[in-house]
């Protein structure tokens, strides 16, 4: 009964020649490629199915990954919003014009009036030498010493505020050059220092977030690596068997790499969800605050490219973590 197929075994010549003929009697290259592709497809599904079979453990691991990914992602969104806010501050950039010492007050006043008609300036403030001296006296504390001066050493000063569309750094710099050419103007100064400082702070914060992202990226690698290590351990016997029947390391690595990618993707999706949830939570208090300041500020969520970047990074880190782990541990598992 066991040997009912003895007929098949009585065709020895053909089989025999196959054994002796080819060194390795396998399928052709094209066929192997197709099957390689098919194996990828089946491993993508199988690894996902395996993760879904123990949903509790999977969700827990993914949540840990999500927290590690959500922190830098959330900070990035916070920075983006504060940049939007600082653009509002940029509008306050000011230009100071120092008028030639000998200029007549009537001429200066005419200039001031001309300037206030310009569309690229929203505010023009004229300070005459007496006002300037008074202010200096009050602020510097040299009041008594100034009394010994025979004449007022201060010139007329005009303080200009560029209108909104000319308020960014480049436009106001252009405006500055133009105003410097005016015959009455001795010196024109753009009050950019604090804008520059703000930008420097922003750059610093961005670099801090980048460093943090790198750190958390390493954490994701380690978490995925450890999770995959456990998965490898639980498949120890299977790996031995598969090695015995001639599986290459690439073949054995494949399902674990896909598991890593799934973890990364799941973690990134959860991280996205966390950031969106946090923003939703903050939306109404932020709105109240900005209304109270009369600002049109609106909380910005993650843009499409930022979400894609997050998901892609998650998958890449998952894959890399799995790869490092599998390469390390697969060599240790040998049959025998």
């Amino acid at each position: 009964m066991v040997f009912r197929s003895s007929k098949k075994l009585q065709k020895p010549k053909r089989q025999h020649s196959v054994h002796k003929g080819a060194k390795f009697s396998g399928p052709g290259f094209k066929q192997q490629f197709l099957t390689w592709f098919r194996h990828h497809q089946s491993e993508i599904k199988r690894s996902l199915k395996e993760l879904l079979e123990s949903p509790g453990a999977t969700i827990m691991s993914m949540t840990v990954l999500a927290i590690a990914l959500a922190l830098p992602a959330g900070l990035q969104v916070a920075l983006k919003n504060s940049q939007q806010l600082s653009q509002g501050f940029d509008n306050a950039s000011r230009i100071t014009l120092y008028i030639h010492m000998g200029a007549k007050s009537a001429v200066v006043e005419t200039l001031s009036q001309q300037l206030s008609k310009r569309r690229d300036l929203s505010k023009v403030q004229l300070i005459n030498p007496e006002e300037g001296l008074k202010e200096f006296e009050q602020r510097s504390g040299f009041g008594d010493a100034l009394q010994y001066l025979g004449s007022n050493p201060l010139p007329y000063v005009i303080i200009l505020t560029p209108s909104n569309q000319y308020s960014d750094v480049n436009a106001s710099q252009k405006l500055l050059l133009e105003l410097q050419q005016l015959p009455l103007v001795d010196k024109a100064q753009l009050d950019l220092e604090w804008v520059k400082r703000l930008q420097a702070i922003m750059t610093l914060v961005q670099q801090g977030i980048d460093a943090l992202a790198l750190l958390f990226g390493v954490a994701v690698l380690l978490i995925v690596g450890n999770t995959i290590r456990l998965a490898i351990h639980s498949h120890r016997d299977e790996i031995k068997v598969v090695k015995l029947v001639g599986a290459t390391n690439g073949f054995i690595r494949r399902p674990f790499l896909y598991t890593g990618i799934w973890y990364g993707l799941g973690g990134a999706l959860l991280a996205w969800f966390m950031v969106v949830a946090a923003l939703a939570f903050l939306e109404s208090p932020v709105e109240k605050l900005s209304m109270a300041y009369g600002s049109g500020f609106q909380l910005q969520s993650m843009a499409f490219d930022e979400v894609s970047y997050l998901l892609f990074s998650g998958m890449l880190l998952g894959w890399l973590g799995a790869w490092i782990s599998v390469s390390r541990h697969i060599r240790e598992i040998e049959p025998g």
């Binding site: 098949k8 089989q15 054994h19 399928p27 015995l244 001639g246 390391n249 049959p335 025998g336």
Partner: protein, 241 residues
């Protein structure tokens, strides 16, 4: 097909499992490897299947010196041989069909060709009707036959079996042995490690007897001295299975 040239194997513990073993198994030959446990049977099979490397001497498979086979080439060498274990080494989370299909999946066969070959192999061992079952639902003898189907599905040149009948009753054991003979009939070279001397003696094939890591007898079971001698070894040191 399988040639050992002065092969010694010493483990890191200092235990010398094989000492200057010399033999040649021609293509299409079937041979038994016997001796009590610890005599070096498993080590000898592991050297052929590249699970271990010899400390001295050379092992040749189909004229190829295994010392020249690097780690990356090991999988391809293993695809040319079928290996059968006492404990079957089946994957219990997959069906009988999937277990047998494993070597083909690794080598990259199309699903159609794979199904055809798996069914042919299962038919050969008489388990075609159980292809959809999980190995856990099968008896010990049936599990062993699944292992055999998996070992032959790739049409290997060499079949190695390590105590394939260790857990089976005499009737099932002789069924398995007859199955091996049928593979041998189609030109497969077989090396079967077994301590079941009464079964081996009936089969009239070459017998290599190991003792203390050395081949102490190499001949046919018809030679009454050899069987007796081996039998004595076994009776005085009964093997724990």
């Amino acid at each position: 097909m399988i040639r050992f040239n002065q092969v010694s194997k010493r483990y890191e513990s200092g235990h010398e499992a094989l000492h200057q073993v010399d033999f040649h198994l021609k293509a299409g030959e079937m041979s038994f490897l016997t001796g009590h446990s610890g005599a070096g049977k498993s080590t000898l099979l592991k050297l052929i299947s590249l699970m271990e490397r010899p400390t001295e001497g050379q092992v040749f498979i189909a004229g190829q010196n295994l010392s020249g086979v690097g780690p990356s080439q090991i999988p391809y060498m293993r695809r040319r041989m079928g290996i059968i274990f006492q404990d079957h080494q089946l994957l219990f989370d997959r069906t009988v069909f999937d277990n047998v299909a494993l070597p083909l999946q690794i080598s990259g066969y199309s699903p159609k060709e794979m199904a055809r070959r798996v069914r042919a192999a299962l038919d050969k061992v008489g388990l075609l009707s159980k292809e959809k079952q999980k190995p856990i639902m099968l008896s010990g003898g049936e599990q062993q036959r699944v292992g055999i189907a998996r070992a032959v599905v790739n049409k290997p040149q060499i079949l190695l079996a390590d105590e394939p009948t260790g857990n089976l009753d005499p009737e099932l054991s002789s069924e398995i042995m007859r199955l091996f003979e049928q593979f041998n009939d189609v030109g497969v070279t077989l090396l079967v490690a077994s301590h079941d001397l009464s079964l081996i003696a009936k089969m009239h094939h070459r017998i290599l007897t190991l003792k203390g890591g050395q081949i102490i007898a190499d001949g046919f079971a018809k030679d009454p001295n050899q069987v007796e001698m081996s039998a004595n070894v076994v009776t005085s040191h009964p093997e724990g299975v």
